[in-house]
Amino acid sequence: MTRSSGCLDAATLEVMRHAIASVAEEMNANLVRTAYSPNIKERRDCSSAIFDLQGQMVAQAESIPVHLGAMPYSVAAAIEAAAPLEEGDVVVVNDPYAGGAHLPDITFVAPVVVAGEVVAYVANRAHHADVGGKEPGSLAGDAEEIYQEGLRIPPVRLWRRGDLCCDLQQLLLANVRTPDERWGDLRAQKAACATGIRRWTELCDQHGVSLLRRAMEEILAYSERRMAQAIAELPDGVAEFEDALDDDGIGQGIVPVRVRIEVYGERIRVDFHGTAHQVAGPINAVYAVTASATFFAVRAFTDPEIPSNAGCYRPIDLVVPKGSVVNALLPAAVVGGNLETSQRIVDVILGALGRLVPERAIAASQGSMNNVALGGIRPHTGTPFTLYETIAGGVGASAAQDGADGVQSHMTNTMNTPVEALETAYPLRVEQYTLRPGTGGKGTHRGGMGIQRDLLCLAPSARASLLTDRRITQPYGMAGGGAGSAGQNILVRNGEEIVLPGKGTVRLQHGDRLSIRTPGGGGYGPPVARSRELSEADAREERT
């Protein structure tokens, strides 16, 4: 059923969109199902996507936003570095300076070959629990160069025409702490590619290569159309916004992030000139991370229902100065760019968009992922353990409502480890896990509350690495609303409270209590205008 103009009709477009999206979803489901490590299986820190011949992303299945729109850079790098790709080839890449985001995220790219010709590419990305480097978990909060953060893999073939390149495999596995688990996860990524290739080939058999090609083009055009419309609904104009990260973890204070947004007609220009130069500590973001955070913010602010693909981002012009903390150059350390800086990028974009469209403005959310990596030796068995957690906080308020209390925001959405699971697996005890009253920014609508999570160390000793922000700067309020409270990291030793820095490593003794207190969200509107009803509910429920 096609129109005479050669365009797909509205129904065929929708049917093909479902078909193509379900290939990406099946790849991802297969990846989650066959993966080895909890980080992929349980926290679902992975995504899968389909790309056309030009390397444009056509459909994506993702469960955390930080993968959104970041994979195309890996695919482009793979196509460029390894062309021409042949049937059975699988390219692997994690190098942030060749299309990656940070080293733990490893991406696979494989061509779909039908009748001897490449018709599409499938790709998937997964966060690996360890890729070597100076600290277990490859999340060193004090790295100064990427070489300290783990193994860099440029785009190279791990399978060539269906055969595993054993030499490369051995090199990779010799550089990571848990090679069996790594290989299990890498094999799952390969299997997911195979699923994508098989399903895409089936679609080609069913609909023909040329209809699929047209469907891909039109799906991109469809998303582009919808994004252009959503942007056109914003008033034309220019707005600027500046915010900052607390520090770089190894001595440099306040790191400004600045954006200038220009909306003109159906296009939007996002310009990061004025942002700090790249820093010595590991909070630098590479271009792909900045693009991902920008896409997240624009998509969430305009219309989150638009299917995510390359077309969706065509109306967005991105200007990111080279050598800045949001477009770092080799050999900058980057692990925290993906985790902390990406949150601040979202904050400044939403801040600027809020100035352009005051009625849709939203105050800042907690603006940190509160990364905690805790490792040591178990007292009875003598075996090592490593716990990695991110902790939720307050969401920003808006004209419509209060910010939500104690929930993940923006670039992450990973779940917590249940207390009963955590204490069963680690020599730790959770002493408190509650909302922090009074931490939400005041306002007509108040910001969401942060969280307090206290871990008691029951091992003879342990090391805790913290990669947290908003311990000094505060999540901003909007339209006269107050800022959310900053977070705090506190060590309680022998009844004495010691305030810890936002980033760094601390040695814990048996009986020490590590108290992570996450930031609240910003408030919206003047506090005096808050309704009595809401104020009374807050007082009754001890939220303020």
Partner: protein, 657 residues
Amino acid sequence: MRIRLFKFPATPEAPEQAVLEALQTLIAHGAIAPECLGRIAHGSTVATNALLEGTWGRTALVTTQGFRDVLEIGRQNRPRLYDLHVQRPAAIVPRHLRYEASERVDASGTVVRPLDMDSLQAVAQVLAEGRVEAVAVVFLFSYLSPEHERTARETLERVVDVPVTISSDVLPEFREYERTSTTVVCAALRPVVERYLRALTKGAERLGMAPRWQVMQSSGSVIGAELAEKEPVRILLSGPAAGVQGARMIGESVKMENLITLDMGGTSCDVSLVHQGAISRTSSGSVGGHPVAVRMNDIHTIGAGGGSVAWMDPGGALRVGPKSAGAVPGPACYGRGGEQATVSDAHVVLGHLLPDWPLGGRTAVDVEAARAAVHRLAKGLRLSLEQTALGILQVADASMERAVRLISVERGHDPRTFGLVAFGGAGPLHAASIAARLSIPRVVIPSVAGVLSAAGLLGCKTGREYGQSLVRRIGALGRDEMQSVVKGLLLRGRRELAADGVGENEVRVEISADLRYQGQSHELNIPCPEAGSDLTDATMTAWVDAFHREHRNRYGHASEEEVEVVALRVRMTGPASFQYIDVTTDREEQLRPSCFTHSWFGPDGPVRTCIADRRAVQGGDRVDGPAVLWAPDSTLLIPPGVTATCDALGTMILEIP
């Protein structure tokens, strides 16, 4: 056995009314004699609706000190990834009714801080003053050491005259948030379900009947009303579970044990999977955003039904649902003022639903209204009327195909090795085209497609499931301790089933364990390889081997790591009442004479199609598509090239080329 089917409209403001009116009508018709009525199997949405609408009983919660916000923080993730205005469903217990008690048990089950009775007395005092209808108590690690919760219950029950629900009773399993949510849902629904079931039994008594009331659980078996009152959390998916149960029975009658079930009604479509005769179950269900971690049938619901509205989105794509025209005004073809084109209207335009063949046996089809509604949409899309109607069906089918893929392919099953059982008012209209999309070779349409849930209820066994979390290495745990845990569960089960009238010798026991490799955070449910409740060393070895095998099957690899027992489970069931649903048609009603019309099945134009009364089709008959088989409760569409045969029970089996 003679079966008669009646259908009565619901009375949402007082749900027991509809049931009682139905019973009254049955008596009036002489269908039942009140004094002879032995049992009533009942499926109800009372608990679900209370949860969805927030009309639960006002409830207080008591937790371990430092954890009163677990209920609200949940797993700390937000439901929708790109939603800046995050909204989570309001916690069932507001923050000021969540109290903390000083006590603590550690991960080995050892008390590290005794329960401070004073802190409890303070709570009790506040409860006595506040007007709460129910109390839930959830302490950390209570699944290992329930004493603190039990003491708390006794203490609180002495002060407050409301039911106190403790988590170690409802769900003695680890993961505190899921257990807290489940316990709170249970506590909060108790007043609601108790009121409802008591109104039912009282009403029935007034009609001169004293039947045994049984209520359908989400897991596919029934329990007595008294137990349902105490643990309403188990009856949340009562209705859909009965439908799947009916579908499984139909599958059994046609000797198919791999089935995908598709229940499509007016507003939504439920899909689920039956593998080797067993209904897929899950412990990670949720209702209205509230996790409910009791075992339930794994049913995936999408917003695609006969009343789903078709619309053009801002990008120019044709979309169907999730908005529905509902019962009022309903699809345009109902002729009640509906103006938006729906899936049913598309069927009317294409000649699948016809003016002289009323919907649901009652509603006449308004062809002009349906055509006008689809026409309005067609203009915007710049397509012909029929192209638009075909498009609506394709889009609806595509979303259902995706749902079926989700519950089959994504969980490691190949739909081509399954049969599709379609029911609900709209299921048989879409069954053949969805099967074709997924290369499913056979479609099964029950003779009672429109009321399969009710029929399924009758065939359900009385049964219950029990679980106990352990989270210990199998080597450290040992056979004897596992044996004693199983014995404990069996003891409780025998007692509760006996109360439901199941004799000791009739009980069928299935033992299983949730196993995982140490260090993993997900587990597999592995049935105990030996029947009987005595665990031998050989059984233990075979059990672990079965886990390695299943892990390899499911995930493609096994491990040398030691195996951990996360939980032991016991499922106990009584005998089934009967196996097949044998519905003798009511011959008193006049059959409609068959005729021919022109219907569309694809873009190439209409084809001459036979329309017949399905009740005229007899065992052994064969119907070649294109054909439309009308019945008062649903209409079956047989596209060109598809052959349908009718078996002795009236089940239609479609062979999809």
